[in-house]
Each structure stands twice: as C-alpha cells, then as structure tokens.
Subunit: 193 residues, 2 copies
Amino acid sequence: MYGNPGSGYQGYPGGAAPGYGQGAATPDVQQWFNTVDKDRSGQINWQELQSALINGQGKNFSDVACKLMIGMFDRDKTGTIDINEFQQLFAYINQWLAVFKNYDRDQSGHIEEPELAQALQQMGFKFSPDFVKFLIAKSDLQNHKQMSVDQFIVLCVQIQRFTEAFRSRDSEMKGVITIGFEDFLSVAINCST
Amino acid sequence: MYGNPGSGYQGYPGGAAPGYGQGAATPDVQQWFNTVDKDRSGQINWQELQSALINGQGKNFSDVACKLMIGMFDRDKTGTIDINEFQQLFAYINQWLAVFKNYDRDQSGHIEEPELAQALQQMGFKFSPDFVKFLIAKSDLQNHKQMSVDQFIVLCVQIQRFTEAFRSRDSEMKGVITIGFEDFLSVAINCST
C-alpha cells in the first residue's frame, strides 16, 4: 500500500522538483556553477557534476546518481544543463541533503535499515521490513547494512517514478494492478535509471 | 504477448549464459584477460573491461553495460571478476556480438528500428511497432534512430530479466498479471540496471 498524495507525500522533494528554483540565478548558485563548470563551456555535464559532489563517506556521487539528476533537468536532451537548469538542480540536491541529514541522526554519512524505514514511512510509504532490507541490500552489495546519500537520492527517484506509473494504472487505489506484458516492460524500462 | 520458451528463446544468449564457458581458461582468453587486467591484480573491474570494449561506432562500451556484465558474472560480489568468471563473460560477449552482427546487415555498427524489430521477433517477442520505436528512442535520446551493440546488450538483458519476473507471475501464460505495489516495486528495482 502506498500513502495518500495529499498527506504522506508532503515532505517528498521529488514531487516538488519541477516547480521551484525558477528565475535568475542567485550569486551562490552562480559561484557554484562556475566552480563546477571546469571547461567554462557554460554547460555542466554529469562528469563535472560528479567531481563536485561528495557523499558523507568521502566518495564522489555515483555516476548513476549524477546522470539521473542531470537527466531530470536537461530538458533539451543535450546531456548537459545550463545555469538556469542548474539553479533548479541545486535546490533539488539541497532539499534531498536536508531530508537525508534529518534521518542520519548519528551524522554517520549513511543511513541504516531503521532510518531508511522511518524515512520511507514519513514519505507515506508502508513497506514491509523485508522490502526495506532488500533496498538496503541492493545499495550495499557486500555488507547489506547501509546507504549513502547519493544511493538514497537514486532510490527515492526510482520509487517516485515507479509509484507514479503504478498509481496511474491503479484508478481505484486498491494497491493492486492488472498489467499486460508490453505495458509492464515499458514501465520498467522507462523508469529504470 | 511473449514467445514460447521452448522455441522462440532458442537463439537468446542471455538464457545460455550460466552454463557455458566453464573449465580452464583457453590461451586466447588468458591473453585477453592479461591485456584487460592493466593493474595485474588478477581481477578485472568494470573500468578495465570498459577500456577494452569498443562498439561499432568507435566508442567504448557504456559504463552501464560494463557494470551490468561484470555484475552478471561476479558471483562473490566483490565488484571484480577473476579469470574463470572472465572466461564465461568472454563467451557471453562474443555470443551477443554475433547476434548483433547478424542483424546489423549493413555493417553500420548500429541497428535501426526494422533490424531491432526483427531481432526481437526472432527472440520470440511480439512487440508493437510503437514499443520498438520507444526502445530505440530510449537508446538514442537525441535522434531516435539507432542503437549500438552495448545498448543492445543492456536492452536484451533488461528484457530478459523483466520477462522472467513477469512470467513467474503469469502462471496461466495469459500475458497479463495482477501485481501488488510492493511486489511491483521490488521487481522494478531488482531488475533495473
């Protein structure tokens, strides 16, 4: 079962992304952009973004996360974003960081199973303990224990996309859908990162 | 609708992967391995694999493709593969290359919509023309025209995984399943590359 969009989703940055951050770039965003745009092309690609983003464990954000985020704001599909698109991405990343830090109560730079369960619950999702375990294991292939902020962002964007696709087919909000093979495949491939 | 596993899937390399290539490494595989294993660690990671694989358009295979392939043969989840796992991967890649070349009749290094439609049909899938168009557009974001061999491999592995997940829920082979939200999400996230 998933939560009610009117309540459970309020704290969910993904839903707010397209709306905010519009307008002229503020000075701090301009400064960030200039730092990230190493080749001074006026455009940022995922590699430039990656070199500027460090997760709480001292590692650069994964390329999956950086490509995903560039792709979300790259409206003209050039593989790069300009200063205005970057302004929105900047706000988006900061909002995710705030969410993550809120659940990373011990400031370890990663969240573990109980923290992820709580985060998802407050986003309006009621998942089984086994499912939360599975999500952690997918992120931490070797130890099955923890998730970094970039993995958390990728997961939340994935869940958001699949939830939208599911909900649009679940008109009676039963939490169950009937779906044909080709439609199933197109949802799965379309929402994959 | 999808094809009959007993007939349509016969030419599908994905299905054969776990079985073949076992045993001691042959000299050509050993030579390839030594070339790819640049740091002489006795293990290959996805970056080393990537530097050795060039698609028909003169570009290295994507990191998604290389990570996917390493992940398929990396049984101990270390992020690397040894010579024995590499032997299987080597056979796997060669089999995909042969399939791709068979459909790339004009030897252009990429396949276009009719060629992809034919390839999928011969693998036992009956997809609508719109779905094949969608697959091409997902691979070629800017021009919506063509697909390279590494994109083809990723697509076929994705389709294979999602088909297996779908089929296991479609016990009566109706081509339609009823699926709950959490199960849907776990399939989607588990099979994503």
